[in-house]
């Protein structure tokens, strides 16, 4: 069963050092998951200041600078995993370094047939 783990934390709560440590630890976690055949993907994201929002209304494509909504905790990265059930997903989420500073949201993937495979 596939799950997406969305990682939220306050961008301001990280120093350069703690952020680097977090990425190193997260990479380690990715490899551990890969060894067990549970890793489908993961990445940190650039801060919300780099975000661009796109809406198409009445045939017009509208752009705004910044995230979808201003929040106290921002989406900072994700994990895509394949595990047996929610309890296993919860166990993985608990090991994500950012979980100790922020929140990890677990969303079950809706299996849609007819999608292409990633390259």
């Amino acid at each position: 069963m596939k799950y997406m783990l969305l990682i939220y934390s306050a961008e301001g709560a990280w120093t350069e050092e703690t952020r680097a440590q977090c990425m190193a630890d997260s990479t380690k976690l990715c490899h551990e998951l890969a060894e067990r055949g549970q890793f489908l993907g993961a990445s940190p994201l650039h801060p919300v200041a780099t975000a661009t929002c796109v809406r198409v209304r009445n045939g017009n494509r509208l752009l705004t600078d910044g995230p979808f909504v201003e929040t106290t905790e921002q989406l900072g990265g994700y994990f895509l995993i394949d595990v047996a059930n929610l309890d296993e997903a919860i166990a993985v989420a608990g090991r994500i370094p950012a979980a100790s500073k922020g929140t990890v949201e677990i969303r079950p993937i809706f299996e849609l047939s007819g999608l292409p495979s990633p390259k």
Partner: protein
Amino acid sequence: MREFVGELYVRESRRVYATLVRLLGDFDLAEEAMHEAFAAAIEQWQQYGLPANPRAWLVSTARFKAIDTLRRRTRSAEMQEALVRRVDELSSINAERAAHDIEDDRLRLIFICCHPALAPEAQIAMTLREVCDLTTEQIAAAFLTSPTTIAQRIVRAKRKIREAKIPYEVPSLADFPSRLASVLSVIYLVFNEGYSASSGESLTRPDLSGEAIRLGRLLVELLPDPEVMGLLALMLLHESRRTARATPEGDLILLQDQDRSQWNQKLIAEGRQWIERSLDSRRFGMYTIQAAISAVHAEAASTGETDWAQIVALYDVLLRSAPSPVVELNRAVAIAMRDGPAAGLALIDGILNSGELSDYHLAHAARADLCRRLGRTNEARIAYKRALNLAQQEPERRFLQKRLAELR
């Protein structure tokens, strides 16, 4: 035969249901199939006699009924075959599990209903519906809400279980303590909801407390863990004072004023046995300690003869393992009984001055009571008024109003 099957339903349906949920992987399918199987039992056992193993017969019949239901529901022939194959596979895999695993089915059911990924109200509704077999109407009446609200909660919870794939398993060793804590918390919440209504007229709602105790007894049978014993003991001891706790009109009677001859000695004795077993294990926790405190009260013939020193000592232990302002408050009340009102008041003032419990009506009621005993009438009046502002239950409000009137 109908009567016999009726009795069998009362005794066995939850166990059969729990096993079917595991075999079929779906709550609603399991429930429908089970009811069809019981109906079939009345007919067929009448005609062909009782099977050697009624429970196994019911489970097996229900499985076939479920497959029929799935065939009826899906129109396309291929989907039918795929579904049927899946159920068949699932149930064969699950049926192969060792016989002792089947005993765990009721535990699996309790643990999944109390999974922390479900909202607390959903855990309670699911447990009362799926484990205790209460109807949504009964649950709604008990929690002063509408059957639609309860039904929606349960539908949403089942959808989440299905779509997020919450596993139907007894938790792993690593997760066990926190998962068990979740179960105990649900049971205690149900008990407390029945013991003293959170708002409104009546002080107690017997049905829920009885259900909670039944749940506690089932859980201790399936899982003889010290804290499960402690919780059961705590509930039994609270329950033992039910008739003494309120007047027929529903007015509050304080522990110190209760007619102790009305305390149910059988429940007290049973509670004390569970406390002793739990303490012997040395792995006891906060429920056991709270039960032990209640037991010290239960042993005393009157308030004056209560071993307050022991109660204070037990609160000290409780504070070490489960520190909280409410526990500190209860300890302060016990200190007042052991050392006099001034000592207790100093502690309560300490708690309130640190900003804790300022919205807790019982903190102000306790403060008021101690001020009253010290003859500090003005302060008592202010504190009773504060408590009255915060109290929600009618019987508690009437009690506080009475105390306030007595001050003038």
